[in-house]
Symmetry: C2
């Protein structure tokens, strides 16, 4: 059985007083992903729901377009290796998958345009309902409460949270949600992605590649992420805490 | 002139009231690093102190052992490209630089042992002085105050903070500090690295490769980072906030 946190002996200092106590520390574990025998990535992650992580990673990185392309997926927890068989997968695919595979800033948008379509989903979300969900979401990360060291991500219909995943990495948490959706035949085109982490370009590209129309976080966005969201027609909300939120892009989907 | 934050128009919702306001958003920018004409990495970063970032990255990733190996470094801010000339640099070096270049968990420690020595610096730090510095450090990130989106890292003698850097990425902030030290001929063997970010294995390996004996953060550590710190004889402190801190490794350097 793989554990997601580990109790370690720690010396705590508090106002000059020292004591030795047991402390829950989040487990960080490497997972090497091999496709058809070739290593394509090694992730440092929380060793939980690794099948969702691998499937979500392959989808959100644009290496596959649908889960059915995966013929088999075997995870060796002991060695930290995921063996994936994808018929027809060529290493060439790798070089086009990364946002920044180009040579400089100018090529980024070419890459994006080549790999992502503008999101065309139209629906209207109630901000009060979104706020109440973010409030539940911000409270619901159990691992964070005990270890202080994880990010979480969840999928929501806009009025109902479907599932939540945690990981030491914010990218991994999002990938687990995407992999879970793909494994449960839950469509992403009409859902809201919740995240505890900063909204960087990479998170927005994951959303774009998987056709997620709305991304909400309690944290800050970056300028590049806002720009991508606006170009790709994704609704992007940051600083969603308590009764507040800041809408950076795609505000027409929010009934403000 | 490259800017580190950008004012964007945003719709803010606050208790149901909506208003359009200008909001400072942190700039995220790609930097492609080329050594002798070959691209070795692309970083998403804050476009500030990029020379320090590149030098620190090359050192902390174990690609070079000292700054003097760099014959020239030219940064094209417009295109986001850093051209580095390192005589004798071979692409082979790349494959041994990553922690997780191996095939599975078992090989990680072999890699570490191959590339990092146990830290042998002996000195005794006053925890009260460390706490007061962390308190200054936690307050001193200006970009965080305006954008909410950055990490910071600083170098300290244990009683005095020498310099501080900020970046959207916690790894980048640490690399900027390492690059700054190398560029100013400041030794790292007797210094304390402060970080706002989580202490993961990658941060501890950066410290180990650059012989930094003490790492302090206001955030949580991971289990793998604690294990590395203990094996490599690095003092590692987490949750350093207010009058508290948790010592996870190397407590003999703290006068508790």
């Amino acid at each position: 059985m793989v554990s997601v946190s580990e109790r370690l002996q720690v010396k705590k200092l508090n106002f000059g007083r020292a004591e030795n106590v047991g402390d829950d520390v989040i487990v960080e574990s490497p997972l090497s992903v091999r496709v058809n025998g070739n290593r394509i990535a090694t992730m440092m992650c929380s060793p939980l729901d690794l099948d969702y992580l691998v499937i979500g990673y392959l989808l959100s990185a644009g290496m596959i377009d649908q889960k059915s392309q995966i013929e088999s997926l075997n995870i060796n927890h002991e060695d930290g290796i995921a063996n994936v068989v994808i018929p027809g997968f060529t290493p060439d695919r790798l070089s086009t998958a990364a946002l920044t595979s180009g040579c400089g800033k100018g090529e980024i948008y070419l890459e994006v345009i080549r790999h992502c379509r503008r999101n065309i989903t139209e629906f209207l979300l109630d901000p009060i309902s979104l706020q109440s969900q973010m409030s539940d979401f911000n409270k619901s990360s159990e691992l964070f409460l005990s270890t202080g060291g994880v990010h979480s991500s969840a999928l929501s219909t806009g009025s109902e949270m479907l599932f939540l995943h945690e990981d030491i990495g914010r990218h991994n948490a999002v990938d687990k949600v995407i992999g879970h959706a793909a494994s449960s035949l839950v469509t992403l085109e009409d859902k809201v992605l919740l995240s505890s982490g900063r909204l960087s370009s990479e998170i927005m590209l994951k959303a774009a590649r998987c056709n997620i129309p709305v991304v909400v976080s309690r944290s800050a966005p970056t300028s590049l992420a806002v720009d991508l969201a606006r170009r790709l027609n994704i609704t992007m909300i940051g600083f969603a805490r308590g009764n507040r939120m800041s809408i950076y892009a795609g505000e027409r989907r929010i009934d403000a």
